[in-house]
């Protein structure tokens, strides 16, 4: 509150912020931040919760009732999925190709991103743009040429066809993410390491990577997600049941000639998403740890 004195008279201008102002400020924050956040959380979570609850329903219940809650919750759908011929193999395939399609692109991308971030070689900007080309071209239009190429290489219906295509699509994404993180590392720190005798590999290993670790984890998460959920390539380049991954097997459950068992469909979805969620949660902690430890230093 301010006072204004004119000719011996004092006038009060404004007033002390009181309870009402604090309430309005808090209410404003709730309206501006809380409500949109709550909306986003609901928007994101409702389909997941619906899928989870639907997986406990009876086969026809989803069609018959609009209720969110299962009438007689049951794990039958999960037993059906786990009892499917090949479920273990599909899970193994998904894990295998995801691990390979995460580690290899990360190694390649770290090296590539370091070069793009630190070395002033000719056409680096153009080359970095060209890196994006595989991701700009619609995946569907790559299928026929890839099929021909992989046929010539004798790789159709092998793990190699998945490794190669998944790695090729993950490397550009990871490189672009890491270039930004590596560029953000001050050159002076690297120069200090150089004065201390560190060669390029040591600078990358002991200076750049620890500082840019949240970026590496971010790139890893995206590579994992790409590998785990990829569908177009596995559909086009693999026909053998034993070579399929979980997204392909999930797609195979859809049956337009019978009555769709959405409980089983959703149970399969939940079992497919679950490992990815666990990985997300584990890596999210690492990202937070890295950021926090960097801040303290």
């Amino acid at each position: 509150m301010a006072t204004l004195t004119r000719g011996g008279e004092t006038a009060m201008i404004g007033r002390e912020p009181g309870f009402f102002d604090a309430l309005m400020a808090r209410f404003g924050r709730v309206i501006l931040i809380g409500l949109p956040l709550a909306f986003l959380v609901i928007w994101t979570m409702v389909p997941l919760i619906w899928a989870l609850l639907a997986s406990f329903k009876e086969p026809l219940e989803i069609y018959e009732s609009r209720s969110f809650w299962p009438r007689n919750p049951s794990l039958d759908a999960y037993w059906t999925v786990l009892g499917m011929d090949g479920f273990g193999k599909w899970m193994f395939n998904s894990i295998l190709v995801t691990v390979v399609a995460t580690i290899v692109p990360l190694i390649l991308s770290i090296i590539a991103a370091y070069a793009f971030a630190r070395y002033l070689f000719p056409f680096r900007h153009v080359l970095l743009l060209l890196y994006l080309v595989p991701r700009i071209i619609p995946r569907v239009s790559l299928i026929v040429p890839l099929n021909d190429l992989m046929t010539d290489l004798g790789l159709i219906n092998t793990y190699w066809v998945l490794y190669i295509t998944y790695i090729a699509s993950a490397v550009p994404l990871a490189t672009w993410i890491l270039v930004g993180f590596f560029k953000a590392v001050p050159r002076e720190i690297e120069e200090s390491a150089t004065i201390d005798g560190a060669n390029m590999w040591n600078r990358l290993r002991y200076v750049i990577l620890p500082i840019a670790w949240p970026g590496v984890v971010t790139a890893a998460v995206l590579c994992i997600r790409e590998g785990w959920n990829e569908f177009a390539f596995v559909l086009a380049l693999v026909t053998e049941t034993g070579m399929r991954t979980l997204p392909y097997a999930l797609y195979m459950l859809k049956d337009s000639m019978g009555v769709q068992d959405y409980a089983v469909y959703n149970a399969f979805t939940i079992l497919t998403v679950l490992p990815l969620l666990v990985v997300y949660l584990l890596l999210e902690r690492r990202v937070v740890d890295s950021i926090v430890s960097g801040a303290v230093k």
Binding site: L60, Y63, E64, L96, V97, V99, V100, I103, V104, I143, V144, N147, D148, M150, T151, L155, I156, N157, T158, Y159, W160, Y163, R205, Y206, L209, P210, W213, L235, A236, T239, E240, T241, M243, Y251, M252, K254, D255, S256, M257, G258, V259, Q260, Y262, R286, D289, S290, S293
Partner: protein, 428 residues
């Protein structure tokens, strides 16, 4: 590097190496066999229970591999597989696509081997209905395989509900179907029931095209002729079901599963549906209870044109990749045997092997089988466009969706608009 222990690094490295090694091992060449055969089934349910064990015992020199490739994807997958030299010898497709694949040189004229089948295995050959060959042939009569399973669509309804409402059946004509469907919605709506369960999206017009043919509709060179009195009546039938409230208001977002589930779940009183769906209907409401029945698809009132009961076959076709024609013929003959055809017919699609129709096990599993025989014994194999069947079906699907979602539209204008689209799709 923080938070990455030596153990974790070693584990990751080991997993990577193991992955590469497994990939290398599993991608190696298969063991050589004297003769081998690869078969693609359109659904898991079509695979014989013994998984070719009997076949391989009968013909020990022939090794059989089989996979499931969805009928919806099989055309593109087959073309890719042919390009990659990885194609199956026998593939299950939809009958509508036979001519188109034959034109593309993807499947093989197998007529001569079918003749050999007739000579060597007359018993199974003679058990098969005409549709078994028609459903695997093109317009020139060349046979590319055999259609062992075929479905037809019937008007299916709750007799107990119609009894309750005092409506006599069989219904026979579309005006009586509309009357019954409206009566169910109007009088039983408070019990969460409605008259007619329809499809509004997402699947091919497999249910609506037979209704068009039953109403006297014609096709010319595989193109439905809808810009006429019959086409308009056909469109109006679906529009009236929607506009009158006889069909569920959510229908525009319903696919085949939701349409079926409404009837199976005892919410809808009527639907046009294939006999294979009677299996889950029977589980919910036993056929012997007399609470539901079926009849041929409804005609227009006063219709003078012939009623045609359409059959949709799912033939096994021999591909151009096949090099061992005898092995392919033997496999087709094995799949056609009554024991194997019966297994599929009991759990899924009806078979064209007539010997199954009298089988006690089959009759016990499908108590409606004898009643449906007069309707299914002379099915009309749907002629399709020789090169653009898929494009024609896409336009029909769009029209079906419009009929259901826009019931107030002028039917004659819709018929005219979509006839033009159909003609364009067919390249006319």
């Amino acid at each position: 590097m923080p938070n990455l222990s030596t153990l974790t690094r070693r584990l990751l490295g080991a997993t990577l190496l193991a992955g590469m090694a497994t990939g290398a091992m599993l991608s190696g060449p298969a063991m050589a066999q004297d003769r081998s055969l690869k078969v693609w089934f359109g659904r898991q349910d079509f695979i014989p229970e013994d998984q070719f064990q009997t076949f391989m015992a009968d013909y020990p020199d022939i090794a059989v591999e089989f996979e499931v490739i969805r009928l919806e994807d099989v055309n593109s997958q087959l073309i890719l597989a042919i390009r990659s030299g990885n194609a199956p010898d026998i593939v299950q497709i939809q009958a509508r696509d036979v001519a188109q694949l034959a034109q593309g040189g993807v499947v093989k004229d197998f007529t001569h081997m079918i003749e050999e089948w007739e000579e060597r295995f007359p018993e199974t050959y003679n058990q098969l209905a005409d549709l078994a060959w028609e459903g695997a042939s093109d317009v020139d009569g060349k046979i590319y395989g055999v259609a062992l399973f075929a479905q037809s669509i019937y008007l299916t309804y709750r007799t107990d509900w119609l009894d309750e409402l005092g409506i006599e059946y069989p219904l026979e004509t579309t005006d009586r179907v509309l009357e019954a469907a409206k009566a169910i919605s109007e009088n039983m709506g408070d019990q969460d029931r409605f008259g007619f369960s329809l499809i509004g999206c997402c699947v091919s017009p497999t249910w609506e095209l037979p209704q068009f043919l039953a109403m006297g509709g014609q096709l010319e060179n595989g193109v439905p002729q809808i810009d006429n009195e019959i086409g308009v009546a056909w469109i109006e039938f679906y529009q009236e079901l929607m506009q009158s409230g006889a069909a569920h208001p959510d229908t525009p977002s319903w696919d085949s599963g939701q349409m079926r589930a409404a009837f199976i779940g005892e919410r809808a009183g009527m639907m046009n549906e294939g006999e294979h769906i009677y299996v889950p209907v029977h589980e919910q409401v036993p056929y012997e209870s007399g609470k539901w029945t079926f009849e041929r698809l409804a005609t227009r009132p006063g219709q003078t044109e012939e009623h045609r009961q359409t059959g949709f076959a799912f033939p096994y076709i021999v591909t151009s990749a096949n090099e061992d024609e005898e092995a392919a013929m033997l496999a087709l003959e094995y799949l056609a045997r009554p024991d194997f055809a019966k297994q599929v017919a009991i759990r899924y699609q009806p078979t064209t092997n007539a010997a199954v129709a009298d089988d006690p096990e089959y009759l016990a599993a499908k108590p409606w089988a004898q009643d449906i025989l007069p309707l299914s014994s002379n099915l009309f194999n749907l002629p399709t466009h020789p090169t653009r069947a898929i494009q024609v079906y896409d336009v029909l699907q769009e029209l079906r969706d419009r009929m259901v979602s826009d019931p107030g539209a002028d039917a004659a204008a819709l018929a005219s608009e979509y006839q033009a689209k159909l003609n364009t799709a067919a390249g006319l």
